[in-house]
């Protein structure tokens, strides 16, 4: 009896997922190009948020320079897929390169930075993000300076270019699906448990035989590679990128969505992205109060609901 009902339940579950997926696929036809564009941005931020969630939410490393790795991905893609250096490599080939570049940079910054105490890491990464932006703005011969890099190729598959809102939506939807899957797998794996152990008590984790520095570097490199992929996606959609796209506010926004959703929680990141990127579009009238409200919300959340709106399952269990 029990067996049968369980089977039925999973079947229902599967039907639900299928309906949900179908709804996501049909969405652009229902909402028009403008909202499809917004949804594309939400998706982009989900990818970024899932990456930062690994660093901040799981491993407990407060990283305030995430935008540097996003910029690195975007500029790597722009350099190799535009007339800038006369190269025109394909998106699919560049994707792993962008991810790898960001991951390596993450490790290179992480090796010295991890030697310092927790809140110093935040300041080091913040400083790194600012240095990156200043260099992008001023190393004109390499980066084009404030004039940016133009005519970046979109991703092309079977002759179809993914740069209109609708096509980009499907592209980003695929990446959201992939990164959600990856994040969930990592979260539930031995690695994910090691990260959480480090977050909760570094000394205890180390006593249990976890190589703390190695796992932290792993978290940084994987988290940053998400940013690299996000940067490539962004550059391929925009077709032109400028240093102004990579300010401190990007880091803060991604951090906010991770915290508001619930640090360490994958559904939280999705909810947080929708709230942070989508909601301001809904509340156009409140646009100028948006940041004011976010600022206050961060303070209030830290005081009353530090675990976020959709806390990670582990934290939920502990509370009850």
């Amino acid at each position: 009896m029990l067996d049968v009902s369980l089977k039925k339940l999973t079947l229902d579950r599967r039907i639900q997922w299928a309906l949900f997926a179908a709804a996501l696929i049909m969405l652009p036809f229902g909402v028009g190009p403008y909202w499809t564009h917004v949804l594309g941005s939400v998706g982009l931020y989900i990818v970024l948020g899932l990456g930062l969630n690994i660093v901040v939410g799981l491993a407990g490393l407060l990283h305030l320079g995430y935008v540097a790795f996003y910029a690195l991905g975007a500029y790597t893609y722009a350099f190799l897929a535009s007339p800038w250096f006369g190269l025109s490599l394909s998106f699919w080939m560049l994707l792993p390169i962008c991810a790898l570049a960001a991951a390596v940079a993450g490790i290179l910054l992480g090796i010295p930075a991890l030697r310092t105490r927790g809140d110093y890491l935040a300041i080091i990464t913040l400083g790194f993000g600012e240095i990156m932006r200043l260099l992008l703005n001023n190393l004109d011969p390499l980066t084009g300076g404030p004039k940016g890099i133009l005519e970046i190729n979109p991703p092309v598959l079977f002759g179809l270019a993914f740069n209109r809102p609708e096509t980009f939506y499907y592209l980003v939807l695929t990446f959201v699906g992939l990164s959600t899957f990856l994040a969930k797998q990592l979260n539930a794996s031995r690695i994910g448990r090691a990260w959480v152990a480090i977050r909760e008590d570094e000394e205890a984790a180390s006593a249990m035989g976890i190589d703390v520095v190695r796992y932290k570097l792993l978290a940084l490199s994987i988290g940053c590679s998400f940013a690299g992929v996000g940067g490539a996606l962004f550059a391929s959609r925009q077709g032109a990128i400028f240093p102004g796209d990579f300010g401190l506010m990007v880091s803060i926004n991604v951090l906010c969505l991770v915290i508001i959703g619930g640090m360490g929680s994958v559904p939280g990141v999705i909810l947080g992205s929708a709230a942070l990127v989508g909601l301001p579009e809904v509340l156009r009238a409140l646009q100028q109060y948006r940041m004011l409200i976010f600022g206050a919300l961060l303070v209030v959340m830290m005081i009353f609901r530090p675990e976020g709106f959709m806390p990670e399952a582990r934290l939920r269990r502990r509370k009850t």
Partner: protein, 304 residues
């Protein structure tokens, strides 16, 4: 580079260094007591610049300010120091005190939130456009041999050193100062000795805010243009100064401020001016990684 130019840059470095030192003191005092980076301190500094601006504009006719220069200066500094002190006090009360026993990351995130809130609050209240400080100082200046210094810069250097001296004597020789040192040493023991720890922490924030407010007016007068985002970069730089001198260490913050001001000013002699901030941020990262206890080598208590 000739001697005159060196002397000129020395004066510039000391001016901006004095400002960094004043802001750095706020970081270092709070860190000394709570082991916490008051990330919103740059915003406290920015609000000081705005309060000073409104005070000077209130005396509106620049002619008045010129004829009663000392009075106008006293009024604007008082307004700025009061506004910043009060803001820092409120900040501690609202954003930090409830989180004193929370995990280490929580106050930092709360501080980022408060920072965003204050920046946008000021922007909504006063408009996003830059404000131009009324020009009150007479032009011209002093001259000794190769060193020439404008009245404004001389005033800023002298005032910043005076304020630092007052703070130093206050912490060293008054009862409240002694209580502050006791709380920095050990909260529980201080509390057992009859010190109201909460009051002392509030006092520390207030004092740090007062100094940052004075620094805000100085920057306003020096660069003449202010806007709601002006607190971020000087905030980070002042933090760098505090770390350079050994965070938690009051004379260290003063030295660190002047050191950073000089390094930054002289770096511009060899690099394009746009790299000034890159130099400061790189110095910050290098010091945090290589010598987190600061250049003076002060051993910081690792209570966390």
């Amino acid at each position: 580079m000739n001697v005159e130019l060196w002397a000129h840059q020395l004066v510039n470095g000391l001016t901006i260094g004095g400002v960094y030192a004043l802001v750095a003191l706020g970081y270092t005092m709070v860190y000394g007591i709570l082991l916490m980076i008051n990330f919103a301190h740059g915003e406290v500094f920015m609000v000081g610049a705005y309060a000073g601006y409104f005070a000077l504009s209130f005396l509106s006719a620049e002619a008045y300010a010129r004829s009663h220069l000392l009075l106008a200066l006293a009024f604007s500094f008082f307004a700025a120091m009061a506004a910043s002190g009060l803001l820092a006090f409120l900040l501690e009360r609202v954003a930090y005190r409830p989180l004193r026993r929370a995990p280490r990351l929580s106050p930092l995130i709360s501080a980022i939130g408060a920072s965003i809130f204050i920046q946008n609050g000021v922007m909504l209240l006063t408009g996003a456009r830059m404000k131009t400080y009324p020009y009150v100082f007479p032009t011209g200046g002093f001259r000794w041999g190769v060193v020439s210094i404008s009245y404004l810069r001389a005033f800023i250097i002298a005032t910043s050193i005076l304020l630092m001296l007052v703070l130093y004597l206050f912490v060293k020789h008054t009862k409240v100062g002694k209580a502050m040192r006791a709380v920095a040493e050990d909260h529980d023991a201080a509390s057992l000795m009859g010190i109201d720890v909460n009051r002392i922490i509030a006092m520390t924030f207030f004092l740090g805010g007062v100094l940052a407010g004075a620094a805000g007016v100085m920057v306003g007068m020096l660069y003449t243009q202010i806007d709601h985002t002006m607190g971020f970069v000087p905030g980070i730089k002042a933090f760098t100064a505090a770390v350079l001198g050994g965070i938690g260490h009051i004379p260290g913050a003063m030295l660190g401020g002047f050191f950073l001001g000089l390094v930054e000013t002289f770096a511009v002699q060899f690099l394009p001016a746009v790299y000034k901030d890159v130099v400061a941020f790189s110095l910050l990262i290098l010091v945090l990684i290589l010598r987190p206890t600061g250049l003076l080598g002060e051993v910081v208590a690792r209570r966390a």
